[in-house]
Every structure is written in structure tokens, then in C-alpha cells.
Symmetry: C2
């Protein structure tokens, strides 16, 4: 937790941005989330918006900010003796409220009376429990309060959502220090992972070793670790395979530090320690796309343009390898790169690894004059905005050879004759490559987060694996 | 997953036990559970009852067993090309159903039509999503389908609950092999933990090291690890403290293996590597209680009586230390031991670490002629039943010195003059001790699970820590 002034100032800035709105803002912290049975819960994780404005890292808290009177109230229940046997002595709700600069506290059951008859502003709920709670308090179906992904959710307050996004998009110096710290831990975790790659080991063993860093020094992983010799499968969370020679191992993983800020790095390693020529050619292209995008990052540049520049460079190189042919600008415009990279160049990162995703991807990642493309790849871009100092984004180009998708394009003629399918067939067992860094937009340009960059050029990777 | 015959036989046995009931049984598997935001989920964990009867370890499955026609159906949706980019090629729902011996499959959206107008038997929901789903399908409030702890839940089918309990209480040989395996992993994880205890380290570092076993070789921990120098706080999940000399470190932790069976061991270590005399006296008592209870375990013995025998022995020893005085039988009857051990001797263990807890603790752990005591300690006993071969239980006596609780008893005179409060005050910074093994009830008596027992006698512990 930060000093109370941090939370006071954030709430003050929020109220300022909500000027002209009336009613009351309601924030719900998380409750515990059952894993096996209701009293055997997953590791406690507070709601990110709650952490941002109220900081208290404990279950079953709520708060209101009255936009008319300015009164702030925190709602939670004090512990009794029975609880104390289980939890030890705990500070009172009043003390906890004061620790984040909120002067008024009440019981969790008092929320209903406090908002009765008022216009209530709330954010989309990320978990079912909070959606049910909101629906019960406000009298509609729970799904209307539950985040619906790209578009946010039906009943949430758009002025509140926009105000929160405009604050959280620009990281404060103390947040940048936290993200730098999470990236230090991420560097260490990835280093443990790289050193663990040896043919004959089971992938899961490495995942376990990585957790000695993420859980030993941080809250845990910032998302379920991707560690796979099938990089062409984006969310492959199975880790049962033996490491085989000649494969490419994609490791996409991040640490959430104890203050709940994320890191998110991806590296791709030749399991044998050295790339084949075929692997090196594709790897070099992804590496160049990563470098190219980073070099473009500076205030005022739309991140959408970085995505498109990387796509153009990728197609240029793939053309030299004989995999595509045609006019580069036309291929970019037609989205041909989406066959090879069916995801976006990057996303915002902060308290969430996809920062604020539940507030609605389009509201978070697109300026008012931008709209989301329907194309494969570009259509998945989570951050298209013109960059501002303080934005924290990922830079994560990738190239994948996905047989089912290639066959579909071939059948549908989606590529309009640009793809050399005969040549592409020789890549069907290639897998995929992704290379991801975390980037801060600065006044003068950009800085990669964390004090050290994981080895990334093909030569650096081979040298590191030889030393490991 | 086991061979399909395992699931076929379990369902056959279930239907047999439901003879005389009409209607249809509805089982819901789990869906993913959001951690930070709805698309950043906690590690996938299937529902345990689903795993037991249907085995398929993937989200968003449901099934019905028609008690009148005998027809079994699995409900889930096949993947399309968009999904395949994210998940890779997947077997069809039909193939998955066949892999567990179910001949009929339908879409997830077809559940409503299948149960319309029928009497529906279901189990209490462990997660909010399934409670909402059941409530929506059957037309009542979600909380009526959500597990309410000791008593199960209002709307669930008691015949179904009782049938499931009677099956899952008695472990099959293949299940015992799984639990033995989970206990091997538990042994390794605890060994890593013990070796990690050195003054000046941060507790969290050891928790991270332990996960290299639990996540590297199993699904993960079977419950959030307790690792604390404040053993008197039962569910202390904060791990930020430095390890100090002269303390007692309670480590209560288990591994869930990749087939989702649990282990659950507790050991208590002197942080300095050697016990003080005061620590050794209390430790020796807890150790003797653990041994005493184990020695009593055999078919036909009520586990409640093992709890009471341990309580009696504990009071006897505490009397010799001058902490309590009075007639032993009367003190046991009055629950004086509850001040020192305000929890039960043990619980069932299997696919859940507290096996089947959401089905209702009283139904799971008490025979029809037994009722739960209102006393502190005995009232928390989760397993009181007369033991049967195939039961898997924990044996976990403990002694704790909880200042707030002691002060409460002193104020209320709860002990009726049996406690020597002056002496007890010298224990206020002692902390607590718990020693837990996992035990299989066999035809001839009992066997501790796992091939090796963690060092437990005071001499064994000191010898092991000297070697570490």
C-alpha cells in the first residue's frame, strides 16, 4: 500500500473528472473466490480498481463517493472473537478507512440504504459475486453488471468508466517504480525458465521452478504461464510434454509483485540451444519487428501505426523468404499479416496485465476518432491510441504457422493470391515465435521497463543458452 | 483421468443408491473463475463431483442422468476455428463423452429443455456461477443453490447428496494410489520447506520454494499454504515476516496431484533448529496425541472417540505441566481441551482436501445417530463417524496459546476453575503447534499414507534440521 495521500489524490482527481455528474459512485472490492469448495479459495486477489482508489487489500469491502455532498464512506464488518481465532488480531474498519484517508465507515450491510433513491455510478463487475451484488442492490439481471469484454457492460456508468480509464492510463511515478520492480522479478523468473530448458525434462517442471520467483518474491504470476513447444497455440496451458530437440519453446509469463503491479515478457528459445536456419530466419524477423515498434514509440504516435509498421516489415521479410508476394502496402491494407500474427502488437499494463480490460477494451485502447478493425490480427489490437507519457504498453510481435488457419485461408481465398501455400506447408510443424518487452512512454520517447533486458537477438539467445 | 469403466461403474453405483427416486440428476462442471478480470482467470480447477463421475477436465460441461430411462447425456459446445487458434485442435464433445462411457451428447444450451418439467436432483453449488446457473434453470434465488457450509444447501437433493457421500467416503484402490502419490509430493514439498528454515529469511521465500514441487509435479497446492511463526492464528496466510530465532514455525500444506487428489500434512519446527524445554514439553504432548489417535484407528471406532481420547491425553499432560487441574473425565466432558485445541482432530480427504465439504459437513462427517457438539473444539470436528475400511482421514491434534481466547475464558469463567491463568500467561508468546498425518482406514486397522513419514518426534525433528 502507498501513503494515504496517494489514494486521497486519486479520488480527488476522479471527482474532478466526474464534474457535472450527480448521484453517488459505488465501488465493490472483491470477496474470496472458491476453488474446490466455498471455504477452500483461490489465492486472495483484490479488485484492481479498488486497489487503485482505496488500497485496502482485504475481502468484503465497499465504498461510496457522494458526488453531491463529497462524502466518502467505506463499508465493511469488524471481526469478532470467532474470527480472531482464525485471523489473529485485526485493525478495525475505522482504522483501515483512516489509513487511506476515508473519514466515514459503516457495515457492509449498510450499502443498500446509502444508495437508495440515488443515481448510482458503478464499474463493470469482473467476478460473478460482485455482478450479483450490484444486480441485487440495483434491481436488474446480474449479467447486465458483468463485464462483457470489448464493449464494457450494459449498466455501468460510462462517465465513470471514462474517468477511471483516463486516470489509470497514465501511470504515476510510484506506479512506474512498482512496474519496474515487477519487471525485475519477471527478468529473474524468465532467467530461471531459460536455464531450465533441457531436452528430456517435462515442461511442468520448469513452470514449478519459475514459481519460486513469482510466489517467493511476489504475489504470484500475473496470468497463467504460457510455456509451450506449440507456440502456434496461443493459450496452451498444458505443460505435460517432454522437451524435445529441434523445437521452439515460447515462454510468455509475468510476475505480479506484492503491491499487485504486473510484468509480462515473452521469449522464444530453441530447445536444442541453437536455432536451425529456418528458425533463425523467422526469429530474426520477429526480433526486427519488436525493435522497429519500440523505435517508433513516442508521445503522439498512434500505437495502431506501430502495429501496422511491424506488420509491413514482417510481410517484407516473409516475401524475401518466398512465403508471400505482392504489393506491400496493399498486403498490409488487406490484413495479410493477420495469417501469421493473428493478435495485436500490444496492450496496456499496470495493476492488470491487460490493464483495465474489464472496463471495455474499446474504451481503454481506442481514441474517440479510432475504431476497431474487423481484420484478423489488427482486430485484436488492444491498444491503438495515440501514446502519452506515462502509458505502459507491451511490444509483442509474433509469427505463427497455424495449419488449421492456413487451410481455412487457402479454402476461402482470403489472401487473394498473395500466399505461397506450397512453401508454407513446409512450416506446418514449425510452431510459433513471440518476443515481448514492456515499454514506458516517456516525454522524449520510450524506455523498456526493468533494469535489464532479457537476451533477445538470436546471437544473444544462443550465447545465453550456451552459458546456462 | 481413469479408464472409462471407472466412471461407468461409479455412475452405475450412484443410480443403484438412488433406487426409488424418480426424476433426473443434473451435474454441472465448473467454468473458468476470474482473478483480475474476466479473461484473466485463476488456474483451471474442475468441480470435484464432476471429476468423480465424469472425469472430463475441461470447462463448461454439464451432464444429466435420467433416473427413469437410464439415459446419460453430456452437454458442452464444440470448438470453432476462432477457438482453435487459442486452444489448438480439440477432441469433439462426442469423443470426450465417449471417453468416459457416455453415449449421448448435446449443446450446453440444451440443458434447460432436457430438464423441463422434471424433478431435478442436484448437488450444492461450490461456486457462484453454478449457483446462478442452477437458480436460473430451476427458478429460485441463487443463494438457495449455493453451499451453505455445515448444513449443505436448501434446494439440493438430500437423496443425491447422501448417495454421493456414501460413495466418495470409501476410497477405491485407484484413489488410494492417487492419494499415496499426492502424499509423496507432499513429503517432498514439506522437506523443501523444512530445509528452507533459517533465521533471517523471509517466510514468503520458502512458500515460493515449496511451489517448485506442488506446481512442478502436481496441479498445485491443495489449499493455500499456512507457513507461520504465529501458529496460534489458524489461517495466517501472510508470509511477510523474517524468520526469527526461538520461534515455532507451523507449516500446514498439501499438494494436489495432476489427477486432483490431495495430501495435507502439518509439521512444526523450532526456527533455531532445537526446541527450548518449554517448546519440547508442549510438542511432546501434541506428538503423543497424534500417535494415540492413530493407534486407535480401525473399522468400527468412531473418530469422535479418537478426538476425545486425544483431548483427554492432552489435558493429562497439561495438568502435569501445571496448566490445568481437575478430574480428567469431567474436564473432557466440559470441553476444557477446546481452549488449547479449538479445532477438530481431523477431516476426510480425497478429491477435496476437506473431502465433500460443500455437500454439508454434518452429512459428510456424522453418522445418523451422532450429532455435532456445541463445544469449542469438538464442535469443529469435521469427521466423527464410525470408521470404515477405505476412509481417508487426517490426524492433526494441536495446542495453541491464543491470548484473546484465554482472556475471554478467564472473564467468562468458562473453565470453572480448571485453568491456572497465572502460569498460562507465561505462554502468551508461545504460538502454537500442530502435527498432521494422512491416514487410510484398512480392514485390520490403519496405514499412514505416502511411503515415508515426515520426521515427527522431537528428536527426529532436531536431527533432520541438523542435517539440513
Amino acid at each position: 500500500m502507498f501513503a494515504k495521500e496517494v489514494y486521497i489524490n486519486r479520488r480527488k482527481a476522479l471527482v474532478e473528472k466526474m464534474k457535472g455528474e450527480n448521484g453517488i459512485i459505488l465501488f465493490l472490492g472483491n470477496v474470496e473466490s472458491p476453488a474446490q469448495y466455498r471455504d477452500n479459495c483461490y489465492k486472495w486477489r483484490q479488485d484492481s480498481n479498488w486497489l487503485y482508489f482505496f488500497g485496502i487489500d482485504a475481502p468484503r469491502f465497499a465504498a461510496t463517493i457522494d458526488l453531491e455532498s463529497g462524502v466518502e464512506t467505506i463499508y465493511a464488518d469488524d471481526f469478532d472473537l470467532d474470527d480472531i481465532i482464525w485471523t489473529g488480531p485485526m485493525p478495525s474498519v475505522r482504522e483501515q478507512a483512516e489509513s487511506v484517508g476515508v473519514g466515514r465507515s459503516a457495515g457492509y450491510g449498510d450499502i443498500a440504504a446509502a444508495i437508495k433513491g440515488r443515481k448510482v455510478h458503478f464499474l463493470p463487475a469482473s467476478r460473478e459475486y460482485n455482478a450479483i451484488k450490484l444486480a441485487g442492490l440495483l434491481g436488474f439481471d446480474w449479467q447486465e453488471a458483468f463485464s462483457a469484454g470489448k464493449k464494457g457492460c450494459a449498466r455501468a456508468s460510462e462517465p465513470l468508466v471514462r474517468a477511471v480509464i483516463s486516470l489509470r492510463l497514465v501511470k504515476e511515478d510510484i506506479e512506474i517504480a512498482e512496474i519496474d520492480h515487477a519487471c525485475e522479478l519477471g527478468y529473474e523468473m524468465h532467467t530461471v525458465a531459460r536455464k531450465g530448458i533441457r531436452t528430456g525434462r517435462i515442461e511442468q517442471t520448469i513452470v514449478g521452478e519459475m514459481e519460486s520467483v513469482s510466489l517467493g518474491r511476489g504475489w504470484g504470476v500475473s496470468f497463467p504461464t504460457i510455456l509451450t513447444q506449440h507456440g502456434e497455440i496461443f493459450h496452451c496451458h498444458s505443460h505435460e510434454c517432454l522437451i524435445e530437440p529441434g523445437k521452439l519453446m515460447v515462454i510468455d509469463a509475468g510476475v505480479e509483485n506484492n503491491d499487485h503491479y504486473a510484468s509480462d515478457f515473452t521469449r522464444t528459445y530453441p530447445t536444442a540451444g541453437r536455432f536451425t536456419q529456418m528458425q533463425r530466419d523467422i526469429y530474426q524477423t520477429v526480433y526486427e519487428c519488436n525493435e522497429l515498434a519500440f523505435a517508433m514509440v513516442r508521445p503522439g504516435v498512434a500505437y495502431r501505426d506501430c502495429h501496422l509498421a511491424a506488420a509491413r516489415h514482417m510481410l517484407d521479410n516473409l516475401g524475401q523468404l518466398g512465403l508471400v508476394k505482392g504489393d506491400l502496402d496493399e498486403m498490409v491494407a488487406d490484413g495479410v499479416a493477420g495469417l501469421f500474427m493473428p493478435h495485436g502488437l500490444g496492450h496496456n499494463m499496470g495493476l492488470d496485465v491487460h490493464d483495465m480490460e474489464d472496463l471495455g477494451e474499446d474504451l481503454v485502447g481506442y481514441d474517440a476518432d479510432q475504431s476497431r478493425s474487423p481484420q484478423l490480427g489488427l482486430g485484436s489490437l488492444r491498444m491503438a491510441r495515440r501514446l502519452q507519457p506515462g502509458n505502459v504498453i507491451t511490444d509483442e510481435p509474433g509469427i505463427y504457422f497455424i495449419p488449421a488457419l492456413i487451410e481455412q485461408w487457402k479454402k476461402d481465398g482470403t489472401d487473394k493470391g498473395r500466399i505461397n501455400y506450397n512453401k508454407l506447408e513446409t512450416y506446418y510443424s514449425f510452431g510459433g515465435i513471440r518476443l515481448e518487452d514492456d515499454v514506458l512512454v516517456t516525454a522524449g520517447g520510450a524506455r523498456r521497463l526493468g533494469s535489464r533486458r532479457l537476451p533477445i537477438s538470436p546471437d544473444e539467445v544462443e550465447a545465453a543458452m550456451e552459458t546456462d
